[in-house]
Structure formats: structure tokens, C-alpha cells
Symmetry: C2
Subunit: 236 residues, 2 copies
């Protein structure tokens, strides 16, 4: 059953996607994942040349990817210095979370689709993964399940602008969460994520999207409160 579902979903391909377009999307998703999983932590300096060599392309197409990630707020290029993974200050983080909390309930109101058997399987699988995570906690595993759960949630709306907006905002905040947690914190957060996914699973099994959306909102609010109470280190 594990092999049936991809852990980290990526952007959806267009219908008539060119070879260049597909390569762009794959590189974009790959680097975004590395940033989100803290393989590239905030403050890390990337080199266009090294990345281009690793992926077997020249700097030109790679730079397009880095520009996109810069527009999404994940990178910042400085001439003569390098391409830096961005940090985020507490004020901006708060603003993003506020907006995410307002968008969550729209999941059930803007062009929602019906819950089907595949969704139930998907959330049961996510719950299983989060359960395994509590038995073997890790920051990386937490991020993987967290990201996969997010994609499973936004998949319920067919409103494309809403999905794209939520995705953009999610990736701006997803990685900040982890960087200053102790092992004890990670263990606690993994249990919290397990309970959160369990709530989602129960709502999905009932087919109640409105409940699902508001549970999501509640957990988003809870995350924001916990982050605000914890000091954020401002350097990477």
C-alpha cells in the first residue's frame, strides 16, 4: 500500500507541456522540496554553477528556476555574493498565517469536489505514516508528512487560483517551523501532527468537507500560536 501513493506530490503538469516546460517544473519542484526539508536551510548559499552541473544543464535554464523560487520568496540572489535561501521574520510569518487561516474555510466553499474512496485511502495512509512517525520521530519525516497532508487537503477544491495561492503561502511558511526545534520538540510535534491527521481522516471518512476545512483552520491557528510563543532565531 505504501508504494501506491507518492509521499511528496509536485505541481501538476499541463496538458500540452513542452520538454523545456517539464524540465523547468521538475527542477523547480526538486529544489523547492530541498528547501522545504531543510536540505537547503535558511541562510545557505547556493551556487548556480554547481546546481547546473548537478542537474546536467547549463546555467541558463537553471536560472529561470531560481528566479521563480525568488519570486515565491524562497531564494534571493545577490550579485557577487550568491543565491541565498531566505529566512522569514516573525512579522511576515504572522501575516502569511493570518491569510492562510482565512483561506482554509474556502476549501469547502469554492468549487469543492466530492469525497471518494481514493481520498479515504489516501488519508488513512497519511495517518498510518504519521503514526509510524511518532514511533521514530524526525524533523525530515515530519516535513514529508506535513507537505503530503497539505497537498491531500488542497486537492479537494477544483478552484485553481485558490490552490495556487494556498500552495504559495504554504511553502513560504512550511520550512520555518522546524529549524529551531530540539529533539524533544520534534517528538512532541510529531505526535501533534498525528492527532491532526487523525482529525482530517475522520472528517474525510464522514465526507464532511466543511468540517475538514474548519479543522484545518483550527490547526493552522494552533500552529501560529505555538510559533509566536517560541522565539525564532534570525540567522542561518
Amino acid at each position: 500500500m505504501d508504494q501506491d501513493l507518492p509521499l511528496l506530490p509536485t505541481s501538476e503538469p499541463e496538458d500540452n507541456e513542452s520538454a523545456a516546460g517539464r524540465r523547468f517544473r521538475e527542477l523547480h519542484d526538486e529544489i523547492r522540496t530541498r528547501i522545504s526539508l531543510l536540505d537547503y536551510p535558511p541562510g545557505m548559499r547556493l551556487s548556480e554553477g554547481e546546481l547546473a552541473e548537478e542537474f546536467g544543464v547549463s546555467r541558463t535554464p537553471l536560472r529561470r528556476v531560481l528566479f521563480q523560487l525568488q519570486a515565491e520568496g524562497l531564494l534571493k540572489s545577490v550579485q557577487g555574493v550568491g543565491t541565498l535561501v531566505t529566512d522569514i521574520d516573525i512579522g511576515a510569518l504572522y501575516q502569511v498565517y493570518q491569510l492562510r487561516m482565512e483561506l482554509s474555510p474556502l476549501l469547502a466553499r469554492l468549487s469543492p469536489r466530492a469525497v471518494n474512496q481514493h481520498d479515504i485511502k489516501r488519508f488513512k495512509w497519511l495517518h498510518k505514516k504519521s503514526q509510524e512517525l511518532t514511533e521514530n520521530p524526525s524533523a525530515r519525516g515530519y516535513s514529508e508528512v506535513n507537505i503530503a497532508t497539505f497537498h491531500a487537503l488542497v486537492d479537494f477544491t477544483t478552484n485553481i487560483p485558490l490552490r495556487e495561492t494556498m500552495e504559495r503561502l504554504f511553502y513560504q511558511t512550511a520550512r520555518i517551523w522546524l529549524k529551531s526545534l530540539t529533539d524533544q520538540d520534534v517528538k512532541r510535534e510529531c505526535k501533534s501532527l498525528r492527532d491532526e491527521v487523525r482529525d482530517y481522516r475522520d472528517a474525510v471518512c464522514l465526507g464532511d468537507l466543511d468540517a475538514l476545512a474548519h479543522i484545518w483552520r483550527a490547526h493552522t491557528s494552533s500552529s501560529m500560536t505555538r510559533i509566536r510563543q517560541k522565539p525564532i532565531s534570525q540567522e542561518g
Copy 2:
């Protein structure tokens, strides 16, 4: 008084903006304006080489601008063909409008700032412009006042992600409105815009941001209804 206020505001510069960053922003805003005012109507084919020559740069920095506009949904590059100004189908238009209607009320709820004398002057000026427009209606003049009014509205929230999201969605739909209107339609729409701006002005003068936001929502809803009733030509 006319010279005090710029008609078409652009993106805000960063604090430490490099020369390349400023050039990128200026080119982006310029081309986006041309698309919004239908100087580049949907379906028009642009040439990177010609644009680069016009702006006095090489294709390389210009392509970065075009990629950004492509990510915003305003352009689409096809190898061997050219860079095409996108159209939008009625379904996508409806989805964007639905989301915009949900976001409007957030203007008064997410980090709003107080109304000051400058705002009142600004909206009185916009009302004057829209009044003049009814006496000499034009599709281009309508767009200019419409865009300027939008920027005056989103200026009331200090929540940056909200502003950026609203701006992105606005420019995806702003140009569609005009392309299939007769002279009679344009005349009617200019009067409608004048009444709309008058409502905004009155709310601003009262300092009532919540009323302003919901009036905005009502007018957005009205626009969507009128668009849905009118068939959209699907070719440029």
C-alpha cells in the same frame, strides 16, 4: 491637483534594490500595463527580440520579465511560434472572481491601516477622474481609472501576502472585461465605474474600512454577474 497623483501605480521598490532588480521591476510593470490596457490584446504575438531592442537591453534580462509574466498567467511562450498574450476562458474567469470576492472583505480585517487625509484626497481625485471619464468615455480611460482605484483600495491593508495575492488575481481578470464591449457598452460601464468610485469615496470619507471592503465585494460580484451574462469571444 492632477499632477500630484500618479495614474497607474506600480510595484513597490524594495529597500536595498539592485540596478538589475529595479530594471526588472520597471520592465515588468511596463509590459503588464500594456497588457492590461489592451495595447497588447489577448492572442497578440510578441517577439523577444523586438521588445529587447525597444527597451535597449539584450534578450536575457527581458526573458526574465517574460517568464515572470508567464508565471502570472498573462503570457505564454511557445518555441518556434512566439510569446503569446493569453486569453482566459469563462470557467477560469469565474474561479478567479469567486476568490476575489472572498478576499475583498479581508481588506478591513487583516492588518488594516487608518484612513488619513491623503486617502480622502486620493479617492476624491479618483472620483473626479471617473466623472470626467463619463463625459468622454473610452475603454482605455476606463482601464486606467479601474487599475488606479484597485491600487488605492489594496493600499489600505498592510498585509503584504494579501496585497500580492489580490494584485495577482486582479491583473488576471482586469483586461478581459473590455475586449468585447461596444461603444454603447463602454459608455455604460464608465458610468457604472463612476458610481462605484463614488461609493468608495463616501466610505473612505467616513473612515469606514469595513463598509469600503464590503462595497468592493458587492461591486466585484456585480462585475462577475455582468460578465457571465455576456458571451466572451474566445479569440484574439
